[in-house]
């Protein structure tokens, strides 16, 4: 026992002296590596937190508003017709029932026309029957407004019973807001509050302030309560409610209740568990999240490469010391353990810092992605959740083993250093350049496998095989790197000699001899650069496709929409008043009303829309994918039980023109024939569009979400827009976009969607640059004898520095060259496999030439800069012709 303890102490001391002390002394190298690992860990955890926040915001809002609700009864996109309620008395056998209206509005406080629709402050509104809803949700009033006999307002904090609460909300203008909202926006009880609902500005009076409990916590206090009738009026949903909440008795079997209720509901109504909506949103966001997660891993892998680099430098610089330790009796296993310990020490430090960085990065990532999520998917994005021990364990579970794997090769190399390395001149590294064909075979196998995997279908809407195919391409390319470098070395010899003088000659010779050592560095940098190229090509292609699509499909001169952009769970409409008013403008030639509903299809959230087929055909504002005679088919579908579907819908559900799909309607589920498939890049949720007549037949006359206005020839859209805005009275607010402005807005959303992608790429490349610096430092240390000889032979410091910087630039240029080729291959997988399987979009391949040229130049410059420190170290070596 004593002996074991003594051994352990001895090993600990050896570790401190041999590993920790040099790490502390070599500050630049250690800090660089720890920074690389920490960035990688931070990015992975930050993306996990970000992904959680986008769903969490919606789910938290759902749960907070749901309260004790166990089952929801919903309709087919249009809510529940009140005329059905008398038929649903049997629901009381299952539990308590509460009808409600749930919607969104925007606070009105200034000139909202000048504010982008995306930046309005949104509030959630719940319209309830207070008598029936109290068992479901906690409403605790802090303050109320008790109007005096003279009509003046008097604030009171006395307890309020249900009857009194009911009396608070008797007026259609009465609302109860939250304490936070009241304080933040200065809305005390008795004050007036204006809300934009759809395109109308409505005035309300604050009759009470809720304590920060229950549903008052949703959207950080942006919550308003009103009577259900008032909500029906405000949201123009007279005759229907959004859903019925059911509260089950304690001990009731939830699923059995859902099934039992669902079986008895009339056609057009469905029962689901509370939280099902959250699951649907999570599924909808899955592809977006998976892509972000995949990107985040690149940063981590490149960061781990730095661990490999640092341990390699350590081994190279201390071969003689290792030899001495071996000569003194240290076993190979203990040498291996020492260097793996070095990797572990770096990893632990990197993980600790990375966890701290993760939260900061997560906040940034949320702000970069929230615009996309809230614009394209859901209205609410929460702040990232707090980091938990789970995240810490995740970071350790990812970072530590991978670091040890990364350090395995150099650690094994260290364990093989012979004791004779302790003797000067007896341990020289083999500098012969040997080409080995075996890696070419391995590369070929991986590339063939990659091709095969790319042909496979998605797994649960996730392009799993697509990602594995990308991984296989990267591995295959990595095995090709040595052969590519040998080839380039042969080709580049004369050019470098002639163009870059003796420094070019020496740089070429050094790099050629170091190909076995360099291959991993170049492969790692190439992978990062390949991803940058692939994503740039994908985004460039996507953007060109969207620009073309926008150009072809946005034919209307003006687009009129409600105050808040509709998203999942948030129905926003344009009122008939506004349509009639604006339609009277003398320059208006035609108006196309379109209406979208959330539809659950095959358990996923899709969109069902109604639009004027004849107007669309007249204006030519759809790009069809199939069939060849799509326009004729669409014309024939007017008034029929037929639909056109978007490409994402077609790809996701494997439905083609001619197929039949079952669509839930208030009259029950009905079959509709698909007349045509069209390209649509506005949403990846999948859209089904009926002709207006067919839509009205099944869903009734519903207010549109938006109106497209076609002007007479020669009309000035901007002028007409200004005139239209002046035609609206105080009580109405609409957002009117000119065609040009809408195109700009669409592209702005597009660009902001990929902002996080660019950010992750920059991090990955920055970490890779650190790797280049580390690799060059390794080479400098490995060659210190040769560098010293060079100086002895007459090379001055400037020539040595120039040589190393040329080496750095060559590494960058070769890596970028390989990155371009591999990047193009990856872009094919991204565009034709991953994107199609994730989102269902067809993208036309387009090469962003200007960007790629600029990026290539930037990479060479960046790697040259990365070579400055190693160059300075090389130039400062002490002259000696002995080891």
């Amino acid at each position: 026992m004593k002996r074991a303890f003594a051994h352990a102490r001895g090993r600990g001391r050896l570790f401190r002296q041999f590993v920790l002390r040099p790490l502390i002394n070599e500050k630049v190298r250690t800090v660089t590596t720890v920074l690389g690992v920490s960035l990688g860990i931070a990015v992975v955890i930050a993306i996990q937190l970000t992904n959680a926040s986008s769903v969490r915001g919606f789910e938290t809002a759902l749960e907070t508003v749901a309260g004790k609700t166990a089952v929801e009864i919903i309709g087919s996109g249009t809510g529940v017709d009140e005329r059905l309620l008398p038929q649903l008395g049997w629901l009381r056998e299952h539990g308590i029932v509460s009808p409600l209206i749930e919607g969104a509005a925007a606070l009105v406080g200034g000139d909202e026309q000048s504010v982008s629709r995306r930046r309005l402050e949104a509030v959630k509104i719940l319209g309830i029957d207070i008598l029936r809803d109290q068992p479901f949700r906690d409403y605790n009033l802090l303050e109320i407004d008790r109007p005096g006999s003279d009509g003046s307002s008097r604030r009171s904090t006395e307890e309020v019973n249900t009857q009194a609460f009911l009396q608070l909300l008797t007026s259609p203008q009465a609302v109860v807001i939250t304490e936070k909202l009241s304080t933040r926006r200065n809305y005390p009880p008795g004050s007036e509050l204006r809300l934009m609902i759809g395109d109308r500005v409505l005035r309300f009076v604050v009759r009470g302030v809720l304590k920060n409990e229950g549903p008052a916590r949703v959207l950080d206090g942006n919550f308003i309560l009103m009577d259900i009738a008032a909500a029906q009026l405000a949201f123009d949903r007279l005759g229907r409610v959004d859903r019925l909440d059911v509260l089950l008795p304690d001990g009731a079997d939830l699923q059995a209740s859902v099934d039992a209720i669902g079986a008895r509901l009339p056609d057009g109504l469905f029962a689901q568990r509370t939280g099902r909506r959250g699951e649907q949103v999570e599924t909808m966001l899955a592809a977006f999240h998976t892509n972000l997660t995949a990107l985040s891993w690149i940063a981590l892998i490149v960061g781990l490469f730095l661990v490999y680099n640092t341990v390699t430098i350590s081994v190279v610089a201390r071969r003689q010391e290792i030899g001495t330790l071996r000569a003194l009796g240290l076993s190979r296993h203990k040498v291996l353990a020492l260097f793996l310990g070095e990797a572990a020490a770096l990893a632990v430090a990197g993980i600790a810092i990375g966890l701290g960085l993760a939260r900061v990065l997560a906040d940034t990532a949320v702000s970069l992605t929230s615009s996309t999520v809230s614009t394209l998917y859901i209205a609410a994005v929460a702040a990232p959740p707090d980091m938990t021990m789970g995240h810490v364990w995740t970071a350790m579970a990812i970072g530590l083993p991978l670091s040890l794997i990364a350090a395995a090769i150099p650690a094994l190399e260290a364990s093989r250093v012979p004791p004779t390395a302790a003797m000067r001149g007896h341990d020289t590294l083999d500098m012969r350049v040997r080409f080995k064909p075996a890696p070419l075979v391995v590369a070929a196998v991986f590339l063939i496998v990659a091709y095969g995997l790319a042909q496979l279908p998605p797994v649960g809407r996730r392009p799993v095989f697509g990602y594995v195919s990308s991984f296989a391409i990267v591995i295959g390319a990595a095995f090709l790197v040595p052969a590519i470098m040998y080839g380039l070395a042969k080709l580049g010899r004369l050019v470098l000699r002639r163009r870059l003088g003796v420094e070019g000659l020496l740089a070429h010779a050094n790099l050629t001899a170091a190909i076995p050592r360099l291959s991993i560095s170049v492969a790692a940098l190439s992978v990062s650069l390949a991803m940058m190229v692939a994503i740039a090509v994908m985004i460039g292609s996507f953007r060109e496709t969207v620009v073309y699509w926008v150009g072809q499909t946005l034919q209307a001169d003006l687009f009129i929409g409600p105050g808040i952009r509709p998203t999942v769970g948030s129905e926003q409409t344009v009122s008939e008043d506004v349509i009639q008013t604006l339609g009277r403008h003398p320059q208006v030639a035609a108006l196309d009303r379109f209406r979208n509903l959330d539809m659950v299809y095959n358990g996923n959230l899709a969109v069902l829309g109604g639009g004027s087929y004849d107007v669309v055909l007249e204006q030519g504002s759809l790009l069809f994918k199939s069939p060849a005679n799509a326009r004729e088919e669409m014309r024939a579908a007017i008034g029929q039980d037929a639909v056109i579907v978007s490409e994402p819908f077609s790809n996701r559900y494997a439905k083609r023109d001619g197929d039949t799909i079952d669509i839930p309607t208030p009259q029950g589920t009905r079959p509709f024939r698909i007349a045509a498939v069209y390209f649509d890049y506005a949403s990846d949720r999948g859209v089904v569009v009926m002709d207006r007549g067919t839509f009205r037949k099944y869903f009734g006359e519903l207010a549109p979400n938006g109106v497209a206005a076609y002007l007479k020839p020669g009309a000035d859209p901007e002028r007409v827009r200004s005139e239209m805005l002046e035609m609206l009275d105080e009580g109405h607010r609409a957002f009117i976009y000119s065609n040009r402005t809408l195109r700009t807005e669409i592209l702005a959303v597009f660009d902001s969607t990929f902002a996080i992608t660019y950010a992750l790429e920059i991090i990955a490349i920055a970490v890779a640059m650190l790797g280049v610096a580390g690799t060059l430092l390794t080479l400098v240390l490995e060659r210190r004898r040769e560098l010293s000889l060079l100086r002895l032979t007459g090379a001055d410091r400037r020539q040595v520095r120039r040589m190393v910087i040329i080496e750095a630039a060559l590494i960058g240029a070769v890596s970028q060259g390989i990155g371009l080729v591999v990047g193009f291959a990856l872009s094919m997988v991204l565009i034709y496999v991953i994107n199609v399987q994730s989102f269902g979009w067809t993208i036309q391949f387009h090469v962003p030439l200007a960007f790629l040229v600029q990026a290539s130049i930037a990479v060479v410059i960046a790697t040259s800069i990365a070579g400055i420190y190693p160059a300075r170290r090389a130039a400062q070596l002490v002259l000696s012709h002995e080891e």
Binding site: A509, R791, T793, A795, L879, H881
Partner: protein, 225 residues
């Protein structure tokens, strides 16, 4: 008019300081070497001959005394100036050959000229000529790892002479060769001294090598014995 010596050392000293330890490698030596001389420095290991060679070859600066080469005081020069001296006026031959393993024999020989800014074609031409002169013309495209020790040392000698230096510094040039190769290399050095008039300063602990020189300076404990 009497010609100045090529190399003059006056009370030359070198002390190394490492932490608290001070090691005096050279304790004030004075000597001169005329142009065309072949001088051997002889002494046991640690006597200071390598240190003296390093100073004369402009590899290092003395800590005491003065050292002039071609009328230029090396003892006060900065690193860049010393580098230029090495590039233009000194050629080195080492015990362990010290050819750059990443360059071919031809490139190794041409290196001093290339570092000096000579056109590659001209440097190549000179390298070929010298390689022929030292008997390794058939090895120009080989790498150092592919040729024998004797051939490597010949290449090193060619490298040391390509830029027509004023002084050739050789540190145990036969120390890593077998007797036959050693004798051949020594013979070559003598021949070059005779035919090209190259001034040679050679360090050795072997009597037979020292005997090839026209003058021998014996060293012990950092001084001339």
């Amino acid at each position: 008019m009497e010609e100045m010596p090529l190399l003059t050392a006056d009370h030359l000293g070198k002390t190394y300081v490492t932490g608290d330890a001070r090691v005096t490698a050279l304790a004030g030596v004075s000597f001169s070497v005329e142009a065309g001389d072949f001088v051997a420095l002889m002494g046991p290991s640690g006597c200071g001959k390598s240190t003296l060679l390093h100073l004369c070859g402009a590899m290092d600066r003395p800590t005491g005394g003065t050292l002039t080469l071609n009328d230029r005081d090396l003892s006060t020069m900065e690193d860049d100036e010393l580098t230029r001296v090495r590039r233009e006026q000194v050629g080195f031959v080492f015990q362990f050959f010290n050819l750059l393993p990443t360059l071919t024999v031809a490139d190794n020989i041409a290196l001093p000229c290339l570092l000096g800014g000579m056109q590659p074609d001209e440097a190549e031409r000179r390298a070929k000529a010298l390689a022929g002169r030292v008997g390794i013309a058939h090895r120009l495209s080989h790498y150092p790892q592919q040729i024998s020790g004797g051939e490597m040392q010949r290449a090193a000698i060619a490298r040391a002479l390509i830029h027509q230096p004023a002084l050739l510094v050789a540190d145990e040039p036969t120390g890593n060769l077998d007797s036959e190769n050693g004798a051949n290399v020594l013979s070559l050095i003598k021949q070059l001294n005779r035919e090209l008039g190259v001034t040679i300063l050679l360090a050795t602990h072997a009597h037979d090598v020292a005997a090839a020189a026209s003058r021998v300076l014996r060293m012990k404990d950092g001084r001339f014995a």
